[in-house]
């Protein structure tokens, strides 16, 4: 055992290929995972990361190539076999049963822990407790549905760890987590790595890769590009390898001093909703991009949804271009020119099984209809084509189902839907979640262009670098109230996190 070298790969993949019909998803990919390392797997959407990992997990069969585990060639035929070999896979989307306990979920694969035909709940909970202890403070008897997403994620990891897992695959685990929750997760990852577990970490986020991983392998278009030691490279190099071109600047230029305007587009006073937020007042100036920061659960989305009358009984004044609005339903809000881009594109942003054109036209069908409410299909297609061209949407034709587009392009359809009504103010909730680097930069550029033409832009994001990179001013929400505002030089991650988690300006001063 002492001969085992830390640099000796536990998992070695050579020349792996996989095609789906005419599409070559993997073209001879190499990958090497060492013992106890955290190895990032990076690449744009469609680069082949998921295909590669699904082959390792036995969900897909490769066409050719070799996988060696501990130097022995293996043929993984099913996820159950992968588990037996010690490979655990935590998928991006949480796949737990919400109505049963944490312990039952963890041992779902090995339901019977006592060889008796009856369930021994006490033993189950005790064993679950032992595993959860390694991960943090979660009650094994709690129902999964009652836990926050971040803890559900940990339950997923616990589930993977039950089977003496030696290789742990994490697919974008922080997508739904706040900064703080992510940090907890990273601590756990490091702890597990120190215990000798090798971790494959799939992510788009450079900061996470550079703060937590030892090495990074980049895939592009199904090809292996490079593997680098994180300590010896820069985020710029990784991004360049991912996109295959130089992205000169991740974020568009901000508002210059000359461009700043005093003209107020939207003025909000004393926005209150009994239990969730209170006395929210802010104004949005022409040309600026305003950010809303805060921890998950602080009420950022709730404030914006309340303002748009998407949910809740809201009181307070909303003035748009000097006109006081009376909003009762989201339809009124749309009519006034205030629209909301949902954070959950698949859940409530788009009609995935419908065409691009009918998604884009959904907010105000009357725009593409003749008298009598009869839809003019030509006009509807034109609308989608015009907006598609403006947003540089990649698609075949506008009758195509939205589900056939990549994440970034789906998001562009969602944005086109907002733009279809020529809005005066757009609230964007996590506008680049699950979108690859290239499309992300494009979305940021689109937002800046919109702001320049006088559209009010408010961005909610849990990614602080994004808020700082894109916004001219950031409001921080804490426990349903505005805790402060940062602009210019003061716009730092530390400062925003401080306001979001600790306190307001006054307390800071004292």
């Amino acid at each position: 055992m002492s001969t085992v070298d830390r640099d000796d790969p536990i998992l070695k993949i050579t020349k792996l290929t996989k095609s789906f019909g005419p599409i070559k998803a993997l073209r001879g990919v190499d990958f090497e995972l060492r013992r106890g390392e955290i190895h990032a797997l990076a690449g744009e959407n469609g680069a082949g990361k998921s295909t590669l990992m699904n082959i390792v997990d036995g969900i897909l069969k490769p066409d050719s190539g070799e996988i060696r585990l501990d130097g022995v060639p293996i043929n993984i035929t099913s996820p159950a076999m992968a588990q037996k070999l010690g490979i655990g896979f935590v998928h991006q989307e949480i796949a737990l049963c919400p109505d049963i306990t944490v312990a039952e979920n963890i041992f779902m694969g090995v339901t019977n822990t006592s060889r008796s035909p009856l369930m021994d709940y006490r033993a189950l909970e005790r064993r679950a407790g032992e595993i959860l202890h390694r991960l943090g403070d979660i009650n094994p008897a709690a129902l999964v549905g009652t836990l926050p997403i971040s803890q559900q994620q940990l339950v997923e990891i616990a589930k993977a760890l039950t089977l003496d897992c030696r290789v742990l695959i994490l697919d974008e685990p922080t997508a739904a987590l706040t900064e703080r929750e992510s940090r907890v997760l990273f601590d756990i990852m490091r702890k597990l790595a120190a215990q000798g577990i090798s971790i494959i970490y799939i992510s788009h986020r450079m900061v996470e890769i550079f703060e937590n991983c030892h090495r990074v392998t980049v895939l592009r278009d199904g090809q292996y590009i490079t593997t680098m030691n994180v300590a010896e490279t820069t985020p710029g190099d990784v991004v360049r390898a991912m996109v295959g071109r130089v992205i000169d600047s991740l974020y568009p230029p901000k508002l210059t001093a000359e461009e700043q305007s005093d003209e107020i587009i939207l003025d909000v006073r004393g926005l209150t909703e009994r239990s969730r937020f209170s006395d929210v007042s802010f104004s949005l100036r022409r040309g600026e991009i305003l950010g809303l920061a805060g921890l998950i659960g602080a009420g950022r989305s709730e404030i914006v949804k309340g303002l748009c009358r998407l949910e809740g009984e809201v009181s307070g004044e909303v003035t748009l271009h000097g006109r006081r609005l009376r909003l009762r339903h989201y339809a009124d809000s749309i009519a006034a020119g205030i629209v909301y881009l949902s954070e959950d594109r698949k859940g409530d942003g788009l009609f995935l099984d419908m065409s691009i054109a009918s998604n884009v036209s959904a907010l105000k069908l009357e725009q593409v209809a003749r008298g009598g409410g009869i839809i003019d299909e030509r006009a509807e297609a034109d609308q989608a084509e015009t907006l598609g061209a403006r947003l540089n949407l990649k698609y075949g034709h506008v009758g195509q189902q939205v589900s056939s587009l990549s994440g970034g392009n789906q998001q562009k359809v969602a944005i086109a839907k907002m733009l279809s009504v020529n809005p005066k103010v757009i609230f964007l909730d996590e506008p680049t979640r699950g979108v690859d680097v290239g499309a992300k930069a494009e979305i940021h550029r689109i937002l800046r262009d919109l702001a320049r033409t006088g559209v009010g832009i408010v961005v909610i994001s849990s990614e602080l670098p994004e808020l700082i990179g894109v916004c001219d001013r950031v409001l921080v929400v804490r426990e349903g109230r505005l805790a402060g505002e940062v602009t210019g030089e003061a716009m730092t991650e530390d400062r925003i996190m401080y306001l979001a988690s600790v306190g307001n300006e006054r307390r800071l001063a004292s």
Partner: protein, 340 residues
């Protein structure tokens, strides 16, 4: 996990497929991919095979009888399809259709003008639909449960009102019976009404903003609400419309039979839902066409009629109908999966 993978991978494939989808050749290809084309082909094949198998099949009388058989039920299929698209379902269609007959029949026997009696019966059915809509959208119960309860209640009302026996309506004026029994030229009035209903709703569903909202609501209710659509209102209206059309169908049946049958339409809901689903409607909402649903109805009807002509036992007919439904849905499932 598997689904996730197919989604990612299907992207370029789907894009490629659809890029070839523009232009004239593409139109033909898209037409061939359509569910309706497949159904028409199957029906044609059946027609050709049957015209060889039985000399009676391709006769005017048989065609007419077949068309009469599905025409009235076809009106209910229209209502059901729209309701399915909005994400709902209605198990009560058979009993509500019978109830329309019973209400109109009893009113007529009590001296009410048959036209007014019919209008009242249709209004009553519409009110039942509105009631179901209330329980679904305001109280928040599931369509399945609400309509199951109404199915039983409406049937009970039919039996209660008639004592369980059919009511003969011998004194119905001929101009009323004309709806169900008359012909315009060689075309039965029933079929004319059916075609008009189908064309009107097919157009409404495909082209109007009002009915587009039905698709939005069924495709993703939350996304529809997030597009400013009042989804509860949409579901309320589709539920009401379906029952209203059952009322219309009930009146046509009454005019055709010259009587009100309290036990009519038992099991109709299954036939109607099967037809809509064979025609491409999904039980999870968001998809479906009137044309497809009607072709589904025709297919089931042609099969029934063929089996009868071939002297196949009635008991076999149900087995065969069920198998057709299962194969249609299975094929559909695989096609959708391949498309990702």
């Amino acid at each position: 996990m598997k689904a996730e993978e197919t989604t990612t991978m299907a992207t370029p494939q789907a894009e490629k497929m659809d890029r070839t989808g523009s232009g004239a050749a593409g139109t033909i290809r898209r037409l061939l991919r359509m569910r309706e084309t497949g159904l028409i082909l199957i029906i044609l094949v059946l027609f050709i095979a049957m015209s060889f198998a039985s000399p009676y099949f391709l006769t005017w009388n048989n065609m007419r009888a077949m068309a009469m058989a599905f025409a009235v039920e076809g009106i209910v299929v229209v209502g059901m399809t729209i309701l399915l698209i909005s994400g709902g379902i209605d198990l009560s269609v058979g009993s509500v259709t019978a109830l329309a007959m019973v209400i109109a029949g009893l009113l007529f026997l009590n001296g009410v003008d048959p036209w007014i009696a019919s209008a009242m019966a249709i209004a009553a059915c519409t009110a039942i639909g509105a009631g179901m809509g209330f329980f679904v959208t305001r109280v928040g119960l599931h369509h399945f449960i609400v309509s199951l309860a109404v199915m039983v209640i409406a049937r009970g009302l039919c039996l209660l009102g008639t004592g369980g026996r059919p009511i003969g309506l011998y004194t119905l004026p001929p101009e009323f019976k004309f709806i169900g029994q008359g012909s315009i030229g060689v075309i039965p009035v029933v079929i004319v009404i059916f075609v008009v209903v189908v064309l009107v709703f097919d157009f409404l569903l495909r082209r109007t903003t009002m009915f587009r909202k039905v698709f939005y609501t069924g495709s993703n209710e939350k996304a529809a609400a997030y597009s400013g659509i009042r989804t509860k209102k949409v579901v309320f209206l589709t539920t009401t419309l379906c029952s209203g059309l059952c009322g219309v169908a009930g009146i046509i049946y009454m005019a055709r039979f010259g009587s009100a049958q309290p036990t009519f339409g038992i099991g109709m809901e299954l036939n109607v839902i099967a037809a809509a689903v064979i025609g491409g409607a999904s039980l999870s909402g968001g998809t479906g066409t009137i044309l497809g649903a009607i072709l589904g109805t025709i297919l089931l009807s042609v099969v029934s009629s063929s089996l009868a002509l071939l002297d196949v036992s009635v008991y076999w007919q149900d087995i065969i109908r069920g198998s057709i439904l299962l194969s249609a849905v299975t094929i559909d499932h695989y096609i959708n999966k391949r498309r990702g």
